[in-house]
């Protein structure tokens, strides 16, 4: 480790992985509830499990992004972090607030939680992904501001690289667009319109800047390719991301009561949205092929390549499948959406966080790379999780196509629940594959504790 303040990244990474395990456990609960509807009812109704599943996802990715930034920024800026102490204080505040929020979801009826936490003063709860109580939302803003203050000052005082500027831009965008979560007009159409300013402009906008910066950083380190080349690519990719992605928000505006011209704007620009993801894949493979050194951390290189491929498949291809308005008319809000969501989040964001952890964690533990046996186990976990996610996506896609056919397209449309019964087999298969994913994740955690065999005496 070049700078001692980089060490603050370590607790962030550990928390991220811990919350990831929680996310997958609740995913398994929900997957089972799809086929055994009364599983754990009334202790954990589906809506609670889902809230925990998606909120944990957001929070563990945020922990990962922050940890990544705390690791990367000192090295890029060539100076110590402005205040390592502040970073640690914010870590504990964020972790405790996150844990209390999850406990609140699990232990108190949602309506009581809303009452207890001031939702009547400023109602913001009960909207998908933004279910957090008002207090938690305020807490997120405070933590984000302290974090941005800390890393912005570090960057300003040190060397300014493209990677750190892009990362900073992405993180500032993340914080700014989150402010729309406080805006909840009683007009449902307006509510939905600006809700996407958080959700879409995050995952198909500013988060991709963070993704690009983290990936570029790891590629600089593991390939030894000239920084100029990598940074030029980074600019081109994120340029395409925003050029296609901002107006691409329109693909969410087809059926929620907005003017119909959004069907044109949304279709055209979101048809272009796979381009930056395709470029990301080409970029990662290109840099690894042109590598000027053999970095001993092979696992990190694998995660970097995997992020490129899986984000292209999940966000690019599976996104494109149902993004054109005439197709989306039938697929909107079906299991096709779920299939796309799963692979896109795993491929783009879960994998890039594991990529930066894979690269940085050995360094934080005082070595350039993990021992061979540990890396082999980590690579097994990579393949298990990634292949499981491919099959989860395929099974959900099959369920979705059948659902669309039975419930939306057929001459004698079936009611929702009747159609669900017809596709149950795919939900069972998805649940089984979810267990394989969990095994992969357990292996991932175990790989941190594997030591090399002592050399034979």
């Amino acid at each position: 480790m070049q700078y001692s303040s980089q060490a603050v990244a370590k607790p962030y990474f550990i928390a991220a992985i811990g919350l990831f395990i929680g996310q997958i456990l609740f995913g398994l609960v929900m997957g089972l509830q799809y086929v055994v509807g009364d599983f754990l009812f009334p202790a954990i109704p589906f809506n609670v499990a889902r809230m925990v599943h998606t909120n944990l996802l957001i929070v563990w990715l945020l922990f990962g992004f922050m940890g990544g930034a705390y690791y990367l920024i000192p090295e890029e800026s060539q100076r110590e972090l402005h205040s390592p102490r502040l970073a640690i204080i914010m870590f504990w505040i964020f972790l405790v607030a996150g844990a209390l929020t999850i406990l609140g979801y699990l232990m108190v009826p949602y309506a009581s939680l809303a009452k207890m936490t001031g939702n009547d003063i400023l109602p913001t709860m009960g909207r998908e992904f933004l279910e957090q109580p008002l207090l938690t939302k305020v807490g997120i803003v405070v933590v984000a501001l302290a974090f941005l203050y800390n890393i912005s000052l570090t960057v300003l005082a040190g060397r300014k690289t493209t990677i750190s500027l892009v990362l900073l831009l992405g993180l500032w965008g993340l914080a700014i667009f989150f402010l729309f979560s406080f805006y909840n007009p009683s007009n449902l159409v307006k509510d939905k319109y600006f809700w996407w300013w958080v959700v879409h402009l995050w995952v198909e906008g500013v988060w991709e800047l963070i993704l690009g910066a983290l990936l570029a950083f790891v590629l600089v380190k593991v390939t030894g390719v000239d920084r100029e080349v990598i940074e030029k690519w980074l600019y081109v990719i994120i340029a395409m991301t925003l050029i296609t992605g901002i107006i691409g928000t329109g693909h969410h505006y087809y059926w929620i009561g907005t003017p119909e011209y959004w069907q044109w704007w949304g279709s055209i620009f979101s048809a272009l949205e796979p381009i930056p993801f395709f470029m990301m894949t080409v970029f990662a493979f290109n840099m690894v092929n042109r590598r000027k050194r053999e970095h001993p951390n092979k696992a990190a290189t694998l995660w970097a390549l995997g992020t490129g491929v899986m984000s292209f498949l999940g966000a690019g291809v599976w996104g494109f499948l149902h993004t054109l308005a005439p197709v989306n008319y039938y697929t909107h809000g079906t299991q096709i959406t779920a299939a796309h969501g799963h692979m896109a989040f795993y491929g783009a964001y879960a994998m890039v966080v594991m990529c930066i952890i894979s690269y940085a964690m050995p360094v934080l533990r005082g070595r350039e790379a993990n021992p061979e046996r540990s890396q082999v186990m980590e690579m097994w976990s990579f393949w298990l999780m990634t292949i499981a996610m491919v099959f989860i996506t395929l099974f959900l896609t099959a369920a979705g196509i059948l659902q669309v056919w039975l419930q939306r397209y057929s001459a004698t449309p079936m009611p929702f629940m009747a159609a669900q019964d017809q596709v149950a087999i795919f939900y069972w298969l998805r649940e089984g594959t979810g267990v394989v994913f969990m095994i992969g994740l357990v292996l991932y955690v175990m790989s941190f504790f594997v030591k090399d065999r002592p050399a034979a005496a």
């Binding site: 929900m30 055994v36 509807g37 009364d38 009812f41 009334p42 109704p45 589906f46 809506n47 609670v48 889902r50 809230m51 949602y110 309506a111 809303a114 109602p123 709860m125 009960g126 998908e128 279910e131 493209t162 009683s186 007009n187 449902l188 159409v189 307006k190 939905k192 319109y193 100029e228 030029k232 600019y235 994120i238 340029a239 925003l242 050029i243 901002i246 107006i247 329109g250 969410h252 505006y253 059926w255 929620i256 009561g257 907005t258 003017p259 959004w262 704007w265 008319y329 039938y330 909107h332 809000g333 299991q335 959406t337 779920a338 939306r408 449309p413 079936m414 009611p415 929702f416 629940m417």
Partner: protein, 141 residues
């Protein structure tokens, strides 16, 4: 390529493109908000509907259902449930939960008062009258 297409060219495309398309997005948003009253049924946005939306949100209905296609995919679409089922069925259904049928998906009992049930129904009626460009394709949502 590397001779003419430099890093600063790429950077300029990024900043120029981002600013241009964000401004275009703002312009489209401005136009959308201006013309929204023609589509969004806001003329019928009564106090009762507002109360109904609050109940919808504080019971986290979106955690199982979709509304205009957004939400969870565990339970039926409710954007058009008022048209599909009518007010009395909706109220009766909510009051009868959970069904307790073994192995079936369960909806929690929210203990809503008669007034709250009316508010929620008013919200669902208002939602069903939003002009959604003929979505969903049929009454089953």
């Amino acid at each position: 390529m590397s001779g003419t297409f430099t890093k600063s060219t790429a950077r300029n495309i990024f900043y120029g493109g981002a600013v241009f398309f964000f401004l275009l997005f703002l312009a489209l948003t401005f136009d959308t908000v201006q013309t929204l009253p023609k589509h969004d049924n806001s003329a019928n946005l009564t106090e009762q509907v507002v109360r109904g939306k609050h109940i919808w949100e504080t019971r986290n209905c979106i955690g199982c259902h979709t509304l205009l296609g957004e939400g969870a995919y565990f339970a039926p679409e409710l954007g058009n449930v008022y048209v599909r089922r009518g007010p009395d069925f909706i109220k009766g259904w909510i009051k009868a939960q959970p069904t307790g049928a073994p192995g079936r998906r369960q909806m929690p009992q929210f203990n809503l008062s008669e007034g709250e049930l009316d508010d929620l129904v008013a919200f669902l009626k208002y939602a069903s009258e939003i002009n959604t460009a003929k979505w969903p394709p049929n009454i089953e949502g």
